[in-house]
């Protein structure tokens, strides 16, 4: 199917590979279906592009690449809602944002996705160890000037 995007023009995606968030993301309850766009094979970042809204897209990454201790504990009813069987590992993604001092990720509000059904939800973690602005990469002032 053809997905209209404001950032990348019209993008052809395989409909069977879309991710569905039945409840949307917090603050974006009307964006339910997303395509995961991979800019290049070696990158650690992806674009999560809304199918419904051309201008809604997030940069996301796998939090486990950045912190091996990162884990999400789901409540039983959340696991049931996603259809996750006991012992099944969900795919995790976190939304990335750019700051003056570098790159942060929302580790307190991860996206938890059933790897086969491709259904997901944004979970709010109670664990105070993870924040909405967890630093992934710190950019030095010199590097900042070079890319500005």
């Amino acid at each position: 199917m053809l997905v209209q995007t404001t950032r990348f023009g019209n993008v052809q995606v395989d409909e069977s590979r879309l991710l569905e968030f039945p409840a949307g993301l917090l603050g974006f309850s009307r964006s339910r279906r997303f395509a995961l766009l991979q800019p290049d094979d070696r990158g650690v970042f992806f674009w999560l592009q809304s199918v419904e809204s051309a201008d809604v897209a997030f940069v996301v990454t796998d939090p486990c690449l950045w912190d091996r201790d990162y884990a999400v504990t789901l409540r039983r009813e959340q696991a049931t809602e996603l259809g996750l069987a006991e012992g099944m590992t969900p795919q995790l993604l976190v939304i990335v944002n750019r700051r003056d001092h570098g790159i942060t990720a929302n580790m307190q509000g991860p996206l938890v996705i059933h790897p086969i059904r491709r259904v997901g939800m944004q979970v709010v973690l109670a664990d105070r160890r993870w924040t909405t602005r967890h630093e992934l990469v710190s950019v030095s002032p010199a590097a900042r000037a070079a890319t500005a």
Binding site: R42, V44, V56, F58, T61, Q91, N97, R98, T132, L136
Partner: protein, 97 residues
């Protein structure tokens, strides 16, 4: 706004399916228990708001991914990903990426 007085262990029912119980009161702190169907999400408001704000802020990123990726190159994550690609992708990654 409806204001109700409740004592410890007393309950409030909202609609047919949501119950709020006062579990404990200590000084200026109240512990509440909430019974709700899984389709109703319950969050501390300040955390919910922080995540909603962060989502909205992050949705404002435009064509900055190359720059983001460039500044992440050489990071531990990039090295780990490279290693992972050498090792072969995990099942979950293969499904999604």
């Amino acid at each position: 706004m409806l204001v109700l007085s409740r004592q410890r262990d007393e309950r409030i029912v909202i609609g047919d399916e949501v119950e709020v119980v006062v579990v404990d009161i200590r000084g200026d702190k109240v512990r509440l228990g909430i019974v709700a169907p899984s389709t109703v999400s319950v969050h501390r408001k300040e955390i919910y708001e922080a995540i909603r704000r962060e989502n909205q802020d992050a949705a404002g990123l435009r064509g900055e991914l190359p720059r983001i990726a460039a500044s992440a190159a050489g990071s531990d994550a990039a090295r780990r990903l490279a290693q992972q690609q050498l090792d072969g992708p995990r099942g979950a990654h293969r499904e999604i990426a």
